[in-house]
Symmetry: C2
Subunit: 94 residues, 2 copies
């Protein structure tokens, strides 16, 4: 899995809503109605992560969820991160 260039990442992010490139990760903050909504969504995302064998750096405080994705092995962003971000968008939007 090859590390994407910043240009390639920015191009891929145009197909996503609200994700940005920061410090070698792509990230987005989400806000939900309450903790239950936030954690329920995290659970659905967790199953998808496990299926893709790719895992986020994520932080939750009550109804907020911050997700950052990168590919540890290459020290940057790869198609695995773009793919997981797309899945997360589908899950959150569903």
């Amino acid at each position: 899995m090859e590390k994407l260039t910043d240009n390639e990442i920015e191009k891929a992010l145009q197909g996503l809503q609200g994700w940005s490139l920061n410090n070698g990760s792509i990230s987005k903050s989400f806000k939900f109605k309450d903790f239950k909504e936030a954690f329920s969504t995290m659970t659905r995302i967790a199953f998808e992560c496990e299926a893709q064998n790719h895992h986020p750096n994520w932080e939750n405080v009550y109804n907020t969820l911050n997700i950052a994705l990168n590919t540890h092995d290459v020290g940057g962003v790869t198609q695995k991160d773009i793919r997981l971000a797309q899945s997360i968008e589908r899950i959150v939007g569903a």
Copy 2:
């Protein structure tokens, strides 16, 4: 719910394993076998948080979980945090 003094917090932490006081929160880092174990434990903790109506600031990366507890309304640590930390210890140890 009253804010505990640093002395009261330190005394309460003596009854817990590996929790420490940092920046007005009590915190602990956990390590699990893999993501599934980490997230399964988070799920069990999430139900307890909801039951206690008290929620953590927590961060997960693969098999690691960092939890910080404080009581936002009083800007410090209260018995609610101590109680939740005790519950978390029971869940993780179970």
